[in-house]
């Protein structure tokens, strides 16, 4: 980034005046128009931009919903129904927000698996990756808090179960867990007091995510994007400017993604939720089958697989936290799975494990599901155990000489692509 000069030239007098005082347009031009992107990026690289749009959608719709929502135990449930039925355009904005949460996770999981497959977490992108893990944590907290707000049965009991995770700390220091849980609740059980503070935090966290996203993009623009070959950019021939090339591709990806998004919003807005959440919260009756939102299911399966309360909580938190250590667990010097014959299979095995855990998390806690959840929990953590060894014993395939060679075939000297880029560097 530092070496990359902006081709920005203010034309108007106002533009020149502004550029001498706060060169923000110059910076944006350098970072999002001239910025060199590897010429071989595939559609999996469009999810970063899609995720940014998802965040903006959630914040905009959320601000609107907060104008009509009432965060009290008495009125929360009805106010959500009121938004859906009476508020102008509420029928559209409420499902966009609810479906949007799911779509956000769809995109983020694809984004994470993309990073995993192409080794995007390896040097020099470790900090970028860790920031991503922090964003995932913040997203999960936001998603959980948001799901409690409609104050249906799943909201209430989801809040109860998840906040009670902290009570497992009683097994380390007696009374510590209870102290923390009562601090979170503001009482001796989940109540309207809890709902009110969850609403406040649910409003806060997206802005924390936005801050983390700025750092994430900053780190990305320092290291530069990874690409399907996993090779470093070696010459100008390896890159094209972000505009119009990457931006156009991102736009295509976005249209496809938001087509799916719109399909859920308009035709099955409740498909990704639970029918139980249309029953107002009742502190005296637990639904027979409590399940979190689909995006938490793999972690929920891990929680239930361990037959000890503290152990289950530690395994669940650990299953996300361990991602932060991935840059050092993977010992292979080759980034992309394309050139790693064994890692490729291990990757798909890991994907299958995550899906299997997700399915098991949606099933009741009884045989044979628990035993299978235990098996796949072992597989999940096994992936991170095999990874360091695999890097040492695996012989990588033949890597292309450069990104441009991988795109243009042997003729690395072919300048056609390069000619398309206004080279100013």
């Amino acid at each position: 980034m530092a070496q990359h000069l902006s081709s920005y030239k203010p034309t108007s007098r106002f533009g020149k005046w502004w550029d001498e005082r706060l060169p923000i347009a110059r910076m944006m031009h350098a970072q999002f128009i001239d910025f060199p992107t590897p010429r071989n990026l595939n559609y999996f690289w469009t999810f970063g931009g899609i995720l940014m749009v998802c965040l903006v959608i959630q914040i905009l719709t959320g601000i609107v919903l907060a104008m009509h929502y009432v965060p009290t135990a008495e009125d929360a449930f009805n106010s959500v129904q009121h938004i859906k039925r009476n508020v102008n355009w509420g029928w559209l904005i409420q499902p966009i927000h609810a479906v949007g949460a799911s779509m956000f996770f769809v995109a983020v999981y694809i984004h994470i698996f993309r990073g995993l497959y192409y080794g995007s977490y390896k040097a020099p992108r470790e900090v970028l990756w860790i920031l991503g893990v922090l964003i995932l944590f913040a997203m999960m907290a936001t998603g959980f808090l948001g799901y409690t707000l409609p104050w249906g049965q799943m909201s209430f009991w989801g809040a109860t179960v998840i906040t009670n995770l902290f009570s497992s700390l009683n097994e380390i220091v007696s009374g510590l867990g209870t102290t923390i849980v009562e601090w979170l609740w503001g009482g001796y059980a989940v109540s309207g007091v809890t709902l009110n503070r969850f609403f406040s935090l649910h409003y806060l966290l997206p802005f924390v995510i936005a801050g983390l996203v700025v750092l994430h993009v900053w780190a990305l623009h320092v290291a530069g994007q990874n690409n399907p070959t996993g090779l470093d950019v070696k010459s100008n021939a390896d890159t094209v400017p972000m505009y119009p090339y990457a931006i156009a591709k991102d736009t295509v990806g976005m249209f496809a993604f938001f087509l799916l998004f719109a399909w859920f919003v308009f035709f099955m807005p409740d498909y990704l939720g639970h029918a139980d959440n249309y029953i107002p919260a009742n502190p005296l009756v637990t639904p027979t089958h409590i399940v979190p939102e689909w995006y938490f299911l793999p972690f929920y399966a891990i929680l239930r697989a361990i037959p000890s309360k503290l152990g289950g909580v530690l395994a669940m938190v650990g299953s996300i936290l361990i991602l932060a250590f991935l840059p050092w667990l993977d010992t292979s010097r080759v980034r992309s799975a394309k050139y790693r014959p064994y890692f490729k299979y291990l990757f798909w095995f890991f994907v299958f494990t995550c899906i299997a855990l997700g399915w098991l998390g949606s099933k009741p806690a009884e045989p044979p599901y628990v035993a299978w959840a235990q098996f796949f929990t072992l597989c999940y953590f096994g992936f991170f155990l095999v990874l360091p060894i695999l890097g040492l014993i695996e012989t990588p395939g033949q890597l292309p000489k450069s990104i441009s060679e991988s795109v243009l075939g042997g003729g690395a000297s072919l300048p056609s692509g390069a000619a398309a880029a206004p080279e100013k560097r």
Binding site: T160, N164, E182, W183, A189, V193, L284, K309, A365
Partner: protein
């Protein structure tokens, strides 16, 4: 900055002392913002609830709310009490009585979880000690688990007819709240 002899200078001392002072001050200023989330005065106001036991027939159970928590009051059948007594010698996952009115180390025998002379009445805080769901078993039609007491559907914890954890992920027996018999048919919880 150090002196020629390599010792810490007065300025080093001032820097460390100044920073430490600022850190302690910042932490102290944070405290009200953290502590405001604790249960407030109205939530702390310890209420007590009186319950009339006459309408609860043999084998029936009711659930009432005390301090926002569900409390199970079960009128145990003779067999259920006997089963609980017989299970005193079984392998108990949590060996402590968890009776809030008794010392912490009291053994989890059934007699320590009920009131003497009222062994057919079992009063429990109806919150699974795993993750806070309300176990099934209050209605006779409910699944009561392998030990005939309660079964938590969330993550599969089984409690026996004394409310003791016997199987599943829950770590502790169901708590017995503090309560007294005002008469043979009336109790006061809290």
């Amino acid at each position: 900055m150090t002196t020629d002899a390599g010792e810490a200078s007065r300025r080093d001392f001032l820097v460390v002392a100044g920073n430490a002072f600022a850190a302690v001050g910042a932490a102290a200023a944070m405290w009200p913002f953290v502590a405001q989330m604790n249960p407030d005065a109205s939530a702390q106001a310890l209420s007590s609830t009186e319950v009339d036991l006459t309408p609860i027939k043999d084998g029936q159970a009711i659930t009432i709310l005390w301090r926002g928590k569900p409390v199970f009051i079960r009128h145990r059948l003779k067999e259920e009490t006997e089963r609980a007594r017989a299970d005193d010698t079984a392998q108990l996952k949590d060996p402590e009585a968890r009776n809030l009115a008794l010392p912490e180390t009291t053994k989890a025998d059934d007699e320590n979880r009920v009131k003497p002379g009222h062994e057919n009445w079992l009063v429990l805080i109806g919150i699974c000690t795993h993750l806070g769901c309300i176990p099934k078993g209050q209605s006779m039609a409910d699944a009561r688990g392998e030990f005939g007491g309660w079964f938590c559907p969330c993550h599969g914890s089984h409690y026996d007819t004394s409310g003791r954890i016997r199987k599943g992920p829950a770590p502790r027996n169901l708590d017995v709240p503090p309560y007294t018999f005002l008469s043979d048919t009336k109790i006061k919880i809290g």
